[in-house]
Assembly symmetry: D4
Homo-oligomer: 246 residues x 8
């Protein structure tokens, strides 16, 4: 008799949800993201082409370096536009005929070392896929801290609504930035580093422990998550302004 | 000769920065936070009274439970208003004569178990100290997941601009919420739990690994940081609307 | 406009789930469990009395030792029956007038050292709260492995449908038992131990790594979870038999 | 003199156990499992052929991908039937002439992401090798939680006696399922994930910490163990019914 | 039918082992050890008195400091002799009327700091309970390495058959000793230390990683295990010599 | 015969070292340090008085707070001078009649938060016990980074020969300082912090991973070690200058 | 002036030690061990040939599998005898013309799984290089625990003086053996395993935590250290007997 | 309005810092270091040639072994001098026409095993790039501790101003050296080792926990940092002497 009840309850839930893709409806601000890791170049092309039928932009992260050009060529041949992240193997593919959508949102992206650039580019690509523009300043680590000030100044002047800080090694840059500005700051530790605290653990713990109140953190190397989160804030802000204006 | 140059450079930097409290100027959105831990009740009262001369609101976190009533009485005697977080030993002290400032910002706060409530209240108090209002729903864990839906519905209907999710044990609630809404979601793991992954490590790793793209995370039990961050977003949104309206 | 859709979707979900306590309906096989840790004896008594209005049995785990007799007296005064686990501070409270329900299910519980007994008793109490009977054999560690054989023999002869093995230190007992019987074996590592691998980590990793195929594991000291799981199997088996017989 | 006694005691034990393969006698419900990792394709074929002389089914896990087709061809050439797990390199080999044995047991297997499928298939193959049938639903993660309900409904309706939930990343799916059904749920964390909590540690700790009472856990990627355990329950249930019926 | 066989097999095993305490018969070289931790002084006295009926010596480790004198007085009142380890709360209790048995075995015990002495004394007491004599040299750390040489010289001259080295902090002393002598060396890391590698982890890893080939290691603070192991070697050596002589 | 050789070799070594306290002779720059932890106030007084017979200064670290005044009174009664570190329970005791020795060495000490002050004071006291003077600037964290510049300027102007940076939480201050000056910088992480990376692990890993080349690190809370090391450099520098001058 | 003293003291020490290879003199029981890892086959051959000029036996561990036959051929061509460990890439090289020296020592070596055999063979080869004979029994895991009894019986009957137990996965075998015999038992955890506790950590912690008193442990995969240690005991025992006999 | 202020403050800071490369001005004592890891040989050559336009020496660390000769040839072709570290892939490149600058500073470098040599060479190359000379003694581990004394004697006699000790495995050598000399000692743990504490963690914790007061530590394998730090001390000392002399 227990089973009857179970089935019944589940049935009610099931019926009402069956035709509903909650994620698609509620979160459509964030485009499809395909993890390239562990997939053949052929599979990736197939998935992207299929996803581009329903979405105007698709991000593919962590493609094997040797497959990068094959995949890009294959996508372009089908008249899609493809952008490759600098120093990275993450790409943003768009259907060729759709005009680039601009949300009006604006974020800043800062990275500490050249090795952190690939993760920062993930953040930029997903943000741009969401129609959000990004001011990027790379190689602004605390070992050359004076290079940081003009970068922050420019971002504040441009009214960015969130700043993504990407840093490996000790990851202190995110704390320093967070202590200096009054826009929401999002930290992304990277797996750059060696010895104790390597694989990003030093940078992660450093950002979580930040004595600057209000620094939000993403997992190690999760540029995509941080970029999407920052763009969500910026786009919301922009859409809010637009709504009111009209 | 090396020293001369060092002194010189530092001097330039020093001169220009000497009269500048960057943090005060740039981040004044976030009120003073006093860590009660390891301080006597007398010291805490002294610090709060002094801080209230320059700030309209001060948050004191992690007061020893046995000192709580002494401190509150002492602050009230000086005509300050004091609010104690539910189940917690964090307080919000305001000067009595200043009218409660409202920023127009609005956030949601959800916590999983009753034991997580103290951390959630930290988030609420700092947000309210920032003039941001909070819709709170506690005890909405995934073991009773159906209680989550009306809570989210109400928050979305009220147009909150960020949702803070506080959860211990496996911390899965933050992922579940993040997968269901399109406002920025901020997760706070708590140190509730036992055995492997205790002290909040299971919840922290769970939130960092979330397969729902775009969940920002704070350190274990850092309700203050998450509340301040969410209020920063909401207040910015509100101030933006106001600015445009006027 | 995004918000309208969000609200709408959540509304649909909300409406259908609002009057449904999924857990209560679907999982009612498992009684209410109250975590005593961090609660006053007065609160515990209040919660238990309230819970006993709707349930015939309530388990309270990890009561502070000094509160144990106060709580038990208070519950008995209200005509409830109370059983305290041996060596433990976990209790099983039942309403006095309801006849002890027997599910017909039968499990075995084995513990390695006397220090593991408290966790084993948690398993026994929750199983009995679920109407399942338990054959218990404590102090049967691998340092005296010959004591294990008669214990297993008796359990198999009594047709138990699951065996819970509770062991701290190196936790090898669970592997040894699992390699010797063909009923489902459930291991519970305990926090008994010292030095490297202490706090139950040696026993936990030992059970997870077991080279005996098919040993299911619960978190360190989680006697309640393991007892409930084993009783779920045994009760299902018994209810199955009964259903068919009639 | 000490030695005499030692020898004597051991001798007694030895004599009585010498001709007894406890594992074979007592646990024969679980078929032979060969770990492919670190073995040449030639050795694997030899071991499987030899094992198939005494067993009707053998499972070989973690074969090197490049050896997969060689091994399968070699086994088929000897008139054995071979099934390869989807997305996986685990195979189930059966002697060709024996009719597929059905125990009447029935389990459900759910996996969260496509990357978790290989581990889920391990569970399915061992269960089927034990004569137990499995209802499988893959790619049902909490990021698309509505897809979960019809899957659970179908499994409950089909009267499965245990559900195996395979999930990487934050592994929250096992908790969610466990909170919703009243059949025994067995969680298998997978090594899918990155950054903090990677290699399956987030999912493992999440499942061990589950606030849903009664979720049994297996080691990271141990689909074989979980499948065998679930099938043990289901087959026992089925054999129990059969016995009584006759 | 499966069950019949299981019972049968277990029965055979059971019958043959039932009257056999393997450990007592085979390992009687090592006396009874009672863990004082978590036991009341009354329970400890009861257990020791009972154990002394069948054994001439009992070691009780980790007695609460405040119970030490009560327990010793109670045991002496019953005409037992009691020795307390220096700086420690471990005791060796012997029946008063039995002459102290000497095995002829001889070991050396060295400890690095005064804080390591309590663990070293555990090793001494168990060794003496086994009839083995011990040459002890405490406070011989590598910060004053020249004090080490005369200590080693004396031990080698006295023909010890094993040396126990007890060291906390970086635990390097065990490596240094092991590199200098040709008797078996046994290292015991202690939980003395702070910061990274505290709780004995630095010393444990240091001893396990020793580049001096042939250093055997015991768990952190496990003086009893190391002392028993060293005495086992020395007693075996002595009994061997004696046997041959006679 | 093996033994003869062993004894012989050890004997040679022993004879030559027997009258040599290497540490005293070679390292006498560093005064006696007594660990207060785990010692009674009476023992501490006894040890200090005895040490002061041969040394002009003794540092006692980590005295229990409740014993502090008793110990200081007892030492002063014997005509010694005692200085207590600010916020700390570490003291510097000197014989009253000896004039305070000045080495001419000079170091800087910076700490990030008020909670780090106790560890910074350990560094100051040991340095002063070594005759080295210290310029101290406390509460100069990166959350108020502009306060750092005048502090560094002053230290460089005063020609300090090493700077000790004491910081908890994310410990980024040491990196920032190290990137800005050309004197040797020594970092001391403190155990101030919470959640992931607590107990000083975040600060330790942050300092070890510093992208500023040339930051030397001490263990968590090891103010004594860092202060002694910095003073060793500064005193050597000073003694070098002096030697040449004369 | 400090320097003079330092130099002087060091000089004294230096002069006396200069012509003394302590290790060679004192520990010559243990042969030269060459770590093959990271060396070219050519370098290995050169080192071994050079070592064989002064030693009758040399052990080379962890040779790259592809270099194994090249190295063996090169050594044999120079008229040395070479033995390769089963399943392993560790070899024992002896000069061809020296008669195999027998110490009279005897040890037992047991391994749990076939994957542990390579480490067990390291123990056997070093023991044999030390002139000690070894009784080996491989594939005697606790999943087939009955196979253990005849193995132990044979070893006890043969009067082995130490038993090396090599086990991966949960490593419980060492505990079980240690609880059953009265000869010194030495455990070697291996890196065989997966998921939580992999890389040998489960087996290592299991052995360190063993509730069987007196189990000595070596680092993960350190078969050489354990074999050398066991042989040291056995050879000492044998040499002792011989000395007395004569 | 908030933004205006932010921009303003940042502007002030920006203007004053814009033309200032603090690091170059203040720290020019340390030459450019290029991380070879993850860069193509072509990129490395380009970066080095460009850096050599402004610096007389550049260190490139962790070049891929197969690129080493290509890079060196390319640099020499442009008339630069190149030195490769022994056993290592770190190089020191200098412009050919500049005379090798000598600072007069002198340090000692000691390494424990041959495998630690590559890291020790990093320290030597950076020190020499800074004009500091180095006395090196490799293969002086504690397993042959007597070889240490003449090495230390020579270094003290040569008046080195700092000693770098590079050690893997248990890393005890740094403690031993630090306890014996009165010059500043800097420890570098290396990633040489296996099993528990591998990847340098045993050596790192050992050095951080050193009971010899005043041992400064660098991260695992960070020979460059330690060499630069030691040279900074030595050069400062030398420049100090020189200044005074003139």
């Amino acid at each position: 008799m227990q089973k009857e009840i179970s089935i019944h309850s589940i049935e009610q839930v099931g019926q009402n949800l069956a035709n509903l893709d909650l994620k698609r409806e509620l979160r459509r601000g964030i485009p499809e993201v395909v993890l390239g890791e562990g997939k053949t170049s052929r599979d990736i092309v197939k998935i992207v082409l299929s996803a581009l039928k329903m979405n105007s932009a698709v991000v593919v992260s962590r493609i094997r370096r040797e497959d990068l050009s094959t995949i890009c060529r294959a996508l372009k041949r089908r008249r899609n536009r493809v952008e490759i992240g600098k120093n990275s193997t993450t790409i943003l593919a768009r259907t060729g005929f759709v005009k680039k959508r601009s949300s009006g949102g604006k974020i800043g992206i800062i990275s500490a070392g050249t090795s952190d650039m690939a993760v920062a580019e993930e953040a930029r690509l997903i943000a741009e896929a969401m129609g959000c523009s990004a001011i990027v300043r790379y190689d602004v680590g605390i070992a050359g801290i004076h290079r940081l000030f003009p970068a922050l100044k420019e971002m504040i002047a441009a009214s960015v609504d969130a700043i993504v800080v990407v840093a490996g090694m000790e990851g202190a840059l995110a704390s320093v930035v967070s202590a200096m500005v009054n826009v929401p700051v999002v930290g992304v530790p990277t797996s750059v580093g060696y010895g104790f605290g390597s694989a990003g653990l030093a940078a992660l713990s450093c950002m979580l422990q930040s004595c600057a109140i209000g620094l939000a953190v993403f997992n190690i190397d999760n540029g995509i998550g941080a970029g999407a989160f920052a763009a969500l804030i910026a786009n919301r802000m922009a859409s809010n302004s637009n709504k009111i204006k009209i």
